[in-house]
Subunit: 255 residues, 6 copies
């Protein structure tokens, strides 16, 4: 099945009326809060994630005197981001497996576009807190965290903590989910689709169209090489569009 077939597949009706290769409406609000060096609210449909970037001089101990910087991320859900209230991980006394997995994913993706030498011995911590969850929270976090990262680097440049924000950024990065629902490959799954997906894939790509992270999981039905190719085409299209929205957001003055 080719991507063209997908586009002409008029009979597939998604719960929100979108075409199979259509993103949900995306809105990026810059300087969402005033205090952090970078602060972004990203909304992908009903999914809303607050992404902040904290710039700190110095790096963790294991990286000292390397001349290299470090970028790390933490993801978390507010208790009522979900339909059923989730207990706070602070109250349960430990960070759960899913949270760990996503935090690590976000960190790797953002590190993938940062030139650690140009950053110097400085650390950027990205915090992605999900205010409302409707599928795709981890990919929205990556897309939003990139904008917060750029804000923080611009701040650091102005503060003369780094020489040039541009030189630190090797590329841009965004991420989107794709999946197969009832045999139909689809782009950007909200919760209702995600929970029915037999195959679910998160794809992070750079502005120049290469992959930083592919996580495809098919607990419910394995997928073929052909299906993989269609999913990657959809993800490529989605990421290209998300990157245009990132560029627009970053071109404007911070709100």
């Amino acid at each position: 099945m080719e991507i063209k077939d997908l586009l002409t597949e008029k009979t597939v009706i998604r719960p929100d009326g979108r075409a199979v290769d259509e993103l949900r409406p995306v809105k990026i609000t810059r300087s969402f809060t005033d205090i952090p060096e970078g602060s972004v609210l990203i909304e992908c449909g009903n999914t809303r994630v607050m992404c902040t970037a904290t710039f700190t001089p110095g790096v963790p101990r294991w990286r000292k005197d390397s001349g290299l910087g470090w970028v790390t991320a933490e993801y978390s859900m507010l208790p009522r981001a979900t339909a059923e209230r989730t207990d706070r991980e602070s109250v349960r006394g430990k960070v759960g497996g899913r949270t760990h997995e996503i935090s690590r994913l976000i960190g790797r993706c953002l590190r993938g576009v940062v030139d650690m030498k140009a950053l110097g011995e400085n650390q950027i911590q990205l915090d992605c807190d999900v205010l409302q969850a409707d599928g795709g929270t981890r990919t929205a976090s990556i897309t939003g965290a990139y904008v917060a990262l750029v804000e923080a680097l611009r701040w650091a440049e102005k503060q003369r903590r780094i020489r040039s924000a541009e030189r630190v950024l090797k590329d841009s990065v965004s991420a989107v989910s794709v999946g197969i629902i009832n045999g139909h490959p689809m782009l950007d799954l909200p919760y209702i689709e995600d929970s029915q997906a037999m195959t679910d894939m998160n794809v992070a790509m750079t502005g120049s169209g290469e992959f930083i992270e592919i996580q495809g999981t098919a607990e419910h039905r394995p997928f073929s090489r052909d299906e993989l190719n269609v999913l990657l085409d959809l993800a490529t299209k989605g990421n290209r569009e998300l990157q245009a929205i990132q560029r627009t957001a970053l071109a404007g003055a911070a709100s």
Copy 2:
């Protein structure tokens, strides 16, 4: 010193130009997120707290078969609500003393206006997550949580989970901070004033003008009975104004 003196004390200049007995601008956004039964964003100056109310049938085990409901609260700060990033309590593996103290305070204040019999064996969990902190986060949480609580009770009434939201509510509740800075009693302290306050007091009051909670602490300089009286006058004025804002917010349709 009488409250009149305070009002005529023209020479006192606060960093943000307010009079000593003046609240910061307050904004209450209802239905801030779509999923919870009650969801409110309260902004008091630069302090912003997201308050959600979760309505669940049933009560904790120790309260079963009592015919009574239960109301509880959890407070938390996002890592970059503050100027310096605070480590997540989930990552540190335990809830800190300050968080515990504030969560318990919010819970007591809200329980103070709820008729547990009228609520029946249902539980309401209030989550107050500070998106940005500039002093008075615990009092803003109480004031905002009350509005979220009312939203949740109205929802429960519509869903016929309770007979009447109005009967559950014995009264309304709001809270405000007062303090003495350089000898001057003042209302509603932002962080810059709070950190200089010799005496700091949080006062939660009902709509009918009675006290639900008074927490006055004077680690840096004890306060006299007279000073206490001036502070209580200021708190009474502030709470009266906050309750008017609550009423207006609750009169409008949810956004």
Copy 3:
């Protein structure tokens, strides 16, 4: 209602036969154990708290090179201080909210009478372990911890770790509970009264009659400004008597 009315209120009968404005018998045993720099057993009726003070050179990291000392406190209940055995917090793996709240309260009250400059870069840790609980454990802890603090300062003076114990102490401090039971304001509530109190207030005062901490909570029935005033009168009377007992204990030689 005036305090005079209270005293003439002959009809109010308390379970232990006390007048409404009467403290339970208080006994302070100094040098209760031999090892700590300060060690006190305070008994208020059936409530018994062991308070020790540990003097250590040096201060926590965040206070280094400030020239200032530090005072901190930890409160804990032995498992069978209560009628039903309480699980140990060490076994549960975390300090509970109530314990945190009380530890912080005791610390603030004691810091409120200490001149940190005169203490120099030394730390005093107060440990309040409740051997038996019958209401008022947090206020007994404050009253007893003050005596242990003085013992430790005198020890430090003798050891020439500080110049003068007297100069470190800006004032003395004690605390007492007051509350409203069935509409009657009362002083120093044992457990049986405390559990029925509609309003419950803990008041820490200095020897010179000023407030260091007021914590009034009225989860069950809000209280009016007039009631507050009666409660504060009762607390003032109680604290004055407690401070006389502290003085007597400190005048004698350590047992």
Copy 4:
């Protein structure tokens, strides 16, 4: 670059002398220990993982009365599996992010080949403990855990806990790592190669040649669609060979 090119790329010399598309020697020892329902030692080069499968009647609470079974996995490293001793997670008091991530991956892969209806309300827990680590521990865990799973199902069939082991198994599953080192795509990376890899991918495939999980990460250098295709070709070849070894192991009697 095509897979053919890779095979003819004679100049690439790997530290252990293997061809770029060659697996390390694999050895699967069945019934490695006597107690568990399934127990396997898998050795991939110097990597050694002990995989046990525990069959228990009943399922976790959230799955009760669904008629469906459940499969879950836990991964762990012994302290001296690695060159530098790693502190035990039990001693540190929490499971780390990496461990969580891998445990979840193994669980998903194994669930991907199990027919939960045919398993009935029974649970299989897979424990993968790394005795020695030399790269590819997570993929070895998946490959070994599959054999332990089959052993446990055969046991359950003999014990008449399930009707037929064969019906529970929808397919077989194995996994292998691939990566790009200095621009050369390679199969089955030992630690020395893994630590130099710019791109690293773990690919779990079914016996029928479909994907269950693809996790490609390119923190150090993004990869193109063409490179992805070569990596997937290598992984397909590797998995096909691993599955032959699994079949041979399962054909023999348990040692």
Copy 5:
């Protein structure tokens, strides 16, 4: 070396002037606190341990419907029982190895004299909290806990929760430490001796002179069979004396 030699060994001078086979002064205060079913303060020289016994109907889940009772123990040190303040295990978030080891030892010793059938499905929890530590805290805990256990059983008999306290008690139990210091076997070591002991042994014995627990440890110098025999003679003498003190304490009315 025979025990006789020991007794004539006049030249050995212990820091506190005792003979090598002499116990420190022992004092057992019954009903030390009022609330628990059993409450004892035991003082062995400067070591002071508060031992409480909690009687609860019912047993832990794993013992339900067995018709048997259960006895368990928890040991803990107050922070300033020791010369240097020890951090609370609740604050550190976990129970340490030494505490675990001692709690388990106390539990085993007390279970060793209880007829679980005669106890019926009831549980007794022994809490041993060290107020002051000067060596031998674990043996003092066992000796004191036995008296608290008897108090609790007598209470239970009076309350008709058990038929007969006497029938539950198969025997009495006490414990004492012995050790070898500079080649001299000695009874009942205070801290100063304990810290110099090359060999250290804790011996719990029944009233009828049999062993319930022997824990000999010789990290610093192994000991011979002959030395062991002398140590056991000393322990037998010490335990016989401790049991006489227990009997006297239990014969009197509770204070």
Copy 6:
């Protein structure tokens, strides 16, 4: 009852057909894994423990600049070492009492034969991970850990980290369990016997026949001095045989 009687006691039949004073077959595999400085698999009947020794320059902070080394141990069970799967302590978030107790025991025994001065400021960490448990895991751990310790010291000697392995070792150490089952003293109890034992004793001895640790526990039936003597005779015989096996293993080249 004398040891001779035991040997002639022909009527006692043990589940595995052994004589009462006979060890289970013991097998020590050296260099079981390649990475650690010492690595041993010890099998005592069906009990199998992997013991590794990690040599690290430097000592814990509290021992710095003492010129002395340190030896410590950690014991753990894999989840399916036992018939019923045991939850991982990492997942439960804390190390249990039994684990703590055994880890401490192993550490003390090994320290008992090490000359800390000759070791110098180096640390050896022993990790004993039970792959399969059939009684006697703690004694097998001690016996195996000794061999791993020697391997690590020989490695350190070759690496010139220490002057001489031989000088560090003051003696050898092994351990074995003994117990009384139905009145019959027996050597080396497998699980089935251990669970029936009224008295259970673990005895660690040096090569020169002295005791390093005796832990006898008689929760179910106290034991007499005579019984103790028989048990110690059995333990002495068992340890002598284990030490012969250790010597043979250490004489051969590492596998």
